[in-house]
């Protein structure tokens, strides 16, 4: 007899009761995870993927109701268990790791104590439980586990907290480990370490995994099999490599095309998008759930819901799985020819010796860079590297430390800027929920920007407003709505319209797509590329996602702990020779088509910005540290392989 699967979900129908009505979130969902197997579940927000995780441990919110089907963990029907049996099952067979480890750990108990508690519950005496806890932390590749065990969670970095959370989850030696977006809030280098840890630990312990993520690349690196969830239905399932290489459902095909992967750049044309919006939960009857957005949909698709076709080891919920790859492109081609930025003239925006100290925190130190008309300067670096501080300094929202200069057209800007200077430099913020006043309508948000920045007089205002909102592809019917009534992508379009109201020459984009789903991100990136091509606007584009930066940026600046490590033409920074830190960032980014050829590992954690390392700030983690010179002397700028490429490192360019 074969052992029971670690998790089997059979025809699960699940609804949330909202205002006396059942809103269906999962329809006839079936999946099976064998013992020791790792299964990835991907989907965009609202697809129901977190509900699957909660249903698999019977931890649904009070209004969640199972309408049909079964969930079996290690062969036992979860929803037929008595409370005590359920508790025992959760204590021994299944564990869960959540997205935000800061909230999953108890802030008032030392982490070693929290891990030891699990061993005590298993009946170990306190001293023995504590030893086991430290052992477990050591297994999570935590250096000096005994001292970490003595700390409170808030003293640990996000990556370290997540290791502790994983240690706790694995302390019961579960048969199934559920990870719900375990690396979403983490930096790429930390993410890479956590994913590596998960893969290693799984190999050692033989635990089955359910990894839930919106990030296809994260799943690609860790999972044997993958399921694609759309609007509460599993639309495709199969071995990870096969699904991502040759997707057999139009949704998966579309999703893959949205990604700025494999070195795609704005001058290669637009990213593809998935038109329309996913159905609201509980909406949509009859036919294929994806039909309204599918370029291949026929009358049959709209009338008859497709079953899950078995394609020999893989499944697709499409009537025409063999045609999926021929899904027509949804984005119009023919992007207006990208302006090749002219860097021979003087820069429009320049920063010289810019620094910022907040109390004892040295957020930014001696950063100089220049931006030319029509070009995009990508700004990358991990959290705490000073990206956002630099943006705020350039915009004049905070004053630089004495000596730092921001110059527009060669003229230094004062803190109090003239109207024409304000108008020249605008921003699109990361989070539109924070950036758009929730009390104002779209018409008012954009209209006020036209009044203040473009000085549009009353008679022209309505026409200009429509012109502007249409240029960001915002339908007229949204004008009277408040931001809270709009989806994330629409909100970001409003924010973009507002930034462009005064026809700025420079727009700072501070992670404008990081809060958006992949398919929405693609359309926002397209829009930014198009506006730039039409109007010749220069962008300072901040992002932690290298694929996105590569798509849009002409040049890239790499920041670490408030200092520039490298700056140069985009393709040069990607191809090398590059700074050791850039190399580690590049190799840490998860990629869809596997093949992570030898990752450059970073040792230790990002040092505190209060107590910066001397010499080169990167020396504490640098895999190519030369020796004492790196600790003593701050490296001077080295010209890179071509003009305009500069690297701050003691290692000669030829050897990088």
């Amino acid at each position: 007899m074969t052992p029971a699967p670690a998790l089997a979900i059979e025809d699960l129908d699940l609804a949330y009761r909202v205002r006396g009505r059942d809103v269906s979130v999962l329809h006839r969902l079936s999946l099976r995870i064998g013992p020791g197997e790792s299964y990835g579940l991907v989907g965009e927000s609202g697809s129901g993927k977190s509900t699957v995780a909660l249903a698999a441990v019977r931890y649904l919110p009070p209004n969640g109701r199972v309408l049909g089907g079964r969930v079996l963990v290690a062969g036992r029907d979860l929803y037929g268990l008595a409370p005590e049996a359920l508790r025992r099952l959760r204590a021994t067979e299944v564990s869960m790791v959540y997205q935000d480890p800061g909230r999953a750990l108890n802030p008032s108990i030392r982490v070693g104590e929290q891990v030891a508690e699990i061993f005590r519950l298993q009946g170990l005496p306190p001293a023995r439980a504590r030893d086991r806890a430290v052992e477990m932390l050591a297994r999570m590749r935590i250096a000096d586990p005994a001292s970490v065990a003595d700390r409170y969670p808030h003293l640990l970095s996000g990556g370290m907290q997540q290791r502790v959370a994983i240690a706790m989850a694995l302390s019961t030696d579960p048969r199934l480990l559920i990870l719900d977006e375990p690396t979403t809030g983490l930096d790429v280098t930390v993410e890479a370490e956590i994913l590596e840890l998960i893969a290693q630990v799984r190999a050692e312990l033989g635990t089955a995994l359910l990894l839930i993520s919106h990030n296809l690349a994260v799943v690609a690196g860790v999972c044997d099999r993958v399921g694609v969830l759309y609007a509460g239905s599993l639309v495709e399932e199969g071995p990870t490599r096969e699904v991502f290489d040759t997707p057999r459902h139009p949704y998966t095909v579309g999703l893959m095309r949205c990604l700025p992967q494999g070195g795609r750049r704005k001058d290669h044309g637009r990213l593809d998008v998935i038109p329309g919006f996913p159905p609201a939960p509980g909406e949509g009857a009859g036919g294929c759930v994806f039909a309204p957005r599918c370029g291949l949909a026929t009358d049959r698709c709209r009338a008859e819901a497709p079953p899950l076709h078995d394609l020999g080891g893989r499944l697709s919920r499409c009537h025409y799985p063999d045609l999926a790859a021929s899904l027509p492109r949804a984005a119009a081609d023919g992007l207006p020819a990208s302006v090749v930025p002219d860097r021979s003239g003087p820069p429009i925006l320049e920063a010289r010796g810019l620094g910022k100290t907040f109390g004892r925190v040295r957020a930014l130190h001696d950063v100089s860079l220049a931006l030319h008309a029509g070009e995009t300067l990508g700004l990358v670096g991990e959290s705490g590297s000073g990206k956002t501080t630099l943006a705020r300094l350039l915009l004049g929202l905070v004053a630089p430390d004495p000596g730092g200069v921001v110059a527009l057209d060669g003229r230094a800007l004062a803190m109090a800027r003239r109207p024409d200077q304000r108008k020249a430099l605008q921003i699109v913020f990361q989070n539109p929920d924070s950036a758009l006043n929730p009390a104002h309508s779209v018409r008012r948000l954009v209209g006020r920007a036209l009044v203040r920045l473009a000085r549009v007089r009353k008679p022209d205002r309505a026409a200009r407003l429509l012109g502007l909102t249409r240029s960001v592809q915002l339908a007229d019917r949204y004008l009277e709505l408040k931001p809270t009534q709009l989806s994330g992508g629409l909100k970001q379009r409003v924010a973009i319209a507002r930034a462009f109201a005064g026809e700025p020459r420079i727009v700072v984009c501070d992670e404008p797509t990081s809060a958006l789903d992949v398919s929405v991100q693609a359309s926002v990136l397209n829009l930014l590329a198009e506006l730039q091509a039409r109007r010749g606007t220069a962008y300072l584009f901040i992002s932690h996602d290298l694929g996105t930066v590569r798509y849009l940026a002409d040049r890239i600046a790499v920041l670490y702990l408030g200092r520039l490590m490298e700056i140069g033409p985009s393709e040069r920074v990607f191809s090398g020779p590059h700074h050791p830190y850039t190399a580690s960032l590049l190799s840490a980014a998860p990629v869809l088509n596997g093949g992570s050829g030898g990752r450059v590992r970073l040792e230790g954690e990002i040092p505190s910005a209060i107590d910066l390392p001397g010499g080169c700030v990167f020396h504490t983690r640098c895999p190519r540290k030369l020796g004492p010179v790196c600790e003593r002397e701050e490296p001077a700028l080295h010209p890179g392989a071509e003009p305009g490429h500069e690297i701050w490192c003691h290692i000669p360019v030829g050897e990088l």
């Binding site: 915009l395 304000r422 989070n431 950036a435 758009l436 920045l453």
Partner: protein, 259 residues
Amino acid sequence: MTGAAIILFWVVCALAGPQLVPYDPYATDILGALAPPSARHWFGTDQLGRDVFSRVVVGARDILVVAPLATALGVAGGVVLGLVTGYYRGAVDNGLSRLVDVLLTLPLVIIALLALAAIGASTATVVVVIGVVFTPLVARTVRAAVLSQAALDYVAAARLRGERGPYILFVEILPNVAGPILVEATVRLGYAVFTVATLSFIGFGIQPPSPDWGLAISENYGLIGGGIWWIVLANAAAVASLVVGVNLVADGVQEALAT
């Protein structure tokens, strides 16, 4: 709902009281003084033979003018002060916060009492004094709400458009702190009713011979020992019901805004 009904009842009493009541609340009847509740006098009569029921109903008038006015004054002042200190921070903010800390250590009534003793008690001064005492308390709540809003990017976006301070405070931030202000206002109204009644009780509020609840309790509580309980009971019940009514509404508002 219940709270609103109670308040509505007293508002009707305040507006139409004189037309509704069976007796002239000022008419004395020395021979019928201190009569216990009966079919003729539902809540009995007081020392001067005035009908207690009529005086309780009409007594709603003064308190329902004074308390809301004082609250409105305190909220208006507190909103402005809270917006300014929460957005600009700095020295004014520090000074005000210490002042509020001091005020919070003293009971509301003591401060009001001191001020009224200094400037003399009248209906107008009661309104002003309670309003002024409320201002820093409301400001504190508003300031806290403004602090979290001021950190949001829409404020930065407004600054980048070159908006002036007053526009940012009143057009951008104010609508987004309206919820906490509304809650604060209803809570303060409850305190105001209580404070007005207390001040009247100790003789610094509404002056005799006006029919007022606090005043009536103060004039008659000595009689309870002699078995004359109805005057105090009727007036105390009136104060209590109004305070409870206002607080129920405050709870309701808070709940409605939380969802």
